[in-house]
Structures are given as C-alpha cells and as structure tokens.
Assembly symmetry: C2
Homo-oligomer: 250 residues x 2
DNA sequence: TTATATTTTTAGGCTAGGCTAAACCATTTG
DNA sequence: CAAATGGTTTAGCCTAGCCTAAAAATATAA
C-alpha cells in the first residue's frame, strides 16, 4: 500500500460516517478557538489551536484531547502533529460550520419562536445542536426567514455553509473615550456574564457610549444608566462604532 | 446493612441521578410493551415484560437487555427477577411517563408548529425526546395549549404526569361488518406502515366504515375509496365507534 | 416424568471517551 | 549551553453499552 503520491489523499470517505457528539464538539471548538474571538472567518484565517486550550474549553483533561485529536486526524478532519497543535481540514471545517449553523439557528428559533430570553438560549442550543435533522434545520431556517445572525450577534453560516458578510466591529475595550456605537455581538458563553449583560440591557442592537477607560475597566453609558464593566467583559462586547465622539448633547 | 424492614425502601435517591439516553429508552419500552397495545394506563394495569420482547424493540441482543435490567434494578427503577421478566417501579414509571410526554409533545409541536406530516414526526421526536429541558417542554406545551393527544392519537401525560381521560376504542380488526367510526389512534411506529396510513388518509379523525372481514384482512371504506387492510394493520388502527351499522344511505 | 426446545443469563470481549501518573519535548532562564 | 519549567503525550485503567458463545433455567412434549 505505499505510494499514494499526490498531495492530499486523506480519508475523505470517513467524513461521511456519522460523527459522535463528542467529535462534533471538538471540531466546533477547534474552529471557535482558531478564530480567536473575531467573528469566525475563512478556514485560511484560522489559527493553530493548542491541546491545553481545547482541554479547558471542553472541560476535559489534556490527555483526553490528545486521544480525540488522533482519532479526528485519522478521519481526515483535522491536521494534527504531536506537540504542534491542531487545525481543521476542509472536511473538518465543513462539519464545524454545520454544527455552528445548527447551534445558532436553534438559538434564534428558541428566542423568536418560543420566547426564550436571548441570554438563555445558549445552553439549550448546545444540547440540541447534535440531534436535529437536516429537515428540522431547514424548517426553522425557513420559519425565521433565513437569518444571518443569532441573538448574540454571531453570524449564522448559510445552508451551503457560506459565511455571511461581516462588518468590522471593535471590542468595547478598544473604543476611545466618547465614542458612540451599537452592541453588535456579545461574544461569551459564560452564563453568568450573559445574565449580567442581559440585566444591564447590553444586548445586540443596544446603543451605547464609551465614557472612559479606567484601571478597573471601562465606563459605559447605556440609555441613561452608567456602568463600569471589568476588562474581561469589555473584551467580549463587540461594538459597531456609530457617529464620532462629542455629539450634540451635554 | 441487613434489616431495612418495611416494604419498599429501594434506591429512591438514584432516581434523581440523570439517566442516560439508553436507560430512558429501556424504561419507555418497558412501559409501552407492558401496556400491550392498549392506550397505556396506570402502573398497576401493566404487564410483566420479557427480555426477548425488549430486545426486539430495542434492536439489541437479549444478553444486552439483561445487563441493562440489572442496572435499572439497582437504581430502583424496575422490579427485575432473573428469568421472570420485568416491571416498572413507581420511580421508573414516572421516568417513562416523562419521556413519553416529551416524545408526544414534540410530535404535536413538530406537526402543528413546523408543518411536519403526522407520519413524519415520530423519528424526529425519538431523537429529541432525551435532550430537551423542562423549560422547553413547558414552552411547547403552552404553545400547543396543553394538548391531551399527539398527532397519532396517543395520549400525552400531563405536566404532573397524570394520564388524560381515555375513551374506549376498539381495533379496526374487532369491528363488526357495517360499523361506522372515527380513527382515534394509529398505534404503530413502523415508518412504512405510517406512510401507508397517511397515503390512504387514515389519520386520527378520519371517518371510516368497516365493510367486512375477509381472509386477507379487513375491507374498509374511507371517503369514497375502499381498501383492504391486512390484519397486521387492522390491529393497530384504533376506532371510536360512531353510529351503528346500516345508516340512512344505500 | 424424562427429554427436548426455548429463553435467559453468564462469561469474556470490544469501542468510545473519559481519567491519572509518568515520561517526554520544547522553551525559557541562568 | 545546560537546567528548570510547563505543556503534551504515552501507558494503563475505568465505565457504559453493546456483542458472541456457552451455560443454565424454564417451558413443552412424549
């Protein structure tokens, strides 16, 4: 059997074997971590992901990650070299996008059709994403009118897995004092953070002004309330800058 | 540890440990098989179920069933004695009803909210029933107006797991020639049978007349069509008898 | 009531996906 | 450039659920 010359023979067939829930989750996290906070982009723009990071995200020991990466590598879903980290292959990227599409469509559906709060949808979608059929995906996508974003402001890959157009946003922590903007994305999966953001009215679409950065975090104005957000939170709030600074009030 | 006098000490606590999908499925099937075609009734009216029957239903070898029954027995969810078959305990019965409630609410929701055909809902509900939260259950129940029956005519246990009132129906195979009635329940999970019934318009609510029983099965009138249903199908079609025979036409 | 047939259980294996402890590599530090 | 440090992998174990083959119990027939 030696001698398959050529560049990328790999196990393309295996990509058709139905994957386990765990496998899908690993692929999804490789994509998310590799996209590093930014929206999530083309496969080429993706970074190499470390065993450790994956272990943290999956709530699992690094040794377990190694084991899984070997399997996924044999399936041709990731490029993995010991001690060097991991990246998705084209096949793995497709799977990850599909899972992410399920997840985000579910979030949108739970929010819009069943009245879940936007901060509540993540957990439920996380469980369901692996168990819905393509028919289900299609029907909720249709019901929703084929949305491009979920309730957190994350983009939803299209039915053919194309990525929606994204506008360039900046983290709240990167705004300059006085700048106005609209919350475009709340990029955390931590339930406590989500609850806090929801409580403060900091959801996608909300208009805000960054007052100033201080040692403890960022001071921000939302409606007529002013809050101090610790840096960790200011890092996950993505803002679409609006008009420039010092506008017509005060 | 000897000497817990009293009748039913058992492992009540374990019933609180979250069960695996497989465990839930076994419990559900013990209930369904123990209810033998009839609607599904009180725990007391339930029959003992054999290892073999369970194996057939679960698409699994009898040896595997034995293994699982031992575990469920230790958890206090079934009463199991080697070679004598199995029955649910009160705790197991509750779990089974809960799973069934999920299943049937999902079927109703998929049908009414997402436009699935009534014959298509079973498979999707089968996968999802183990993965929805109580919040999800509640929201779809509410959306549906707390229905008492699913699209196949099966009763849906209430939020407190009470059983809805059931009216006494008879199998099509048990009707007498000339009797009229309404399809009340299509009691099969076989996809081909479901498709056939759907194709013939034999869904819950349909008005029918039994013409006669012949060697090959039962001849039945639906609208202005007449069909011959093999006995196996006539056994799973439950009818609510309407007016008596020979009414005002022909 | 003994013999045969059927059902059920036991024994021993396998895979997936976790874990721990120990070995290994790479990178940083002295 | 050697040594210490910390992330990574290997080796070996464990549990859930399934399997097959063989043994045991029950049910049926003679």
């Amino acid at each position: 059997m030696g001698g398959q010359r050529g560049v990328e023979p790999v196990n393309e067939l295996a990509a058709r074997t139905p994957l386990s829930e765990a496998q899908e989750d690993y692929l999804k996290q490789v994509l998310l971590l590799g996209s590093g906070g930014e929206g999530m982009g083309k496969l080429e723009d993706t970074l190499v992901v470390s065993t450790q990071d994956l272990a943290d995200r999956m709530q699992v020991k690094p040794a377990s990650v190694t084991g899984m990466l070997k399997k996924l590598s044999e399936l041709g879903l990731v490029d993995y070299e010991a001690y060097r980290g991991v990246r998705l292959t084209v096949a793995g990227y497709k799977v990850a996008l599909e899972v992410l599409r399920h997840h985000r469509l579910l979030e949108a559906y739970l929010h819009q059709a069943l009245g879940y709060g936007w901060e509540e949808v993540h957990a439920e979608a996380e469980k369901l994403e692996h168990h819905i059929s393509e028919a289900f995906e299609q029907r909720i996508a249709e019901w929703l009118g084929h949305p491009s974003h979920d309730p957190h402001g994350d983009t939803i890959p299209g039915a053919n897995l194309e990525l929606p157009q994204t506008t360039p946003n900046r983290r709240l922590a990167a705004l300059k004092g006085g700048e106005y903007g609209m919350v475009a994305r709340v990029a955390t999966q931590d339930q406590d953070s989500l609850n806090l953001f929801a409580h403060l009215g900091l959801k996608p679409g909300a208009q805000i002004q960054l007052l100033e950065h201080v040692a403890e975090g960022s001071r921000v104005q939302v409606g007529r309330e002013r809050y101090l957000l610790p840096l960790s939170l200011a890092q996950v709030l993505w803002i679409r800058p609006k008009g420039d600074c010092h506008v017509d009030h005060e």
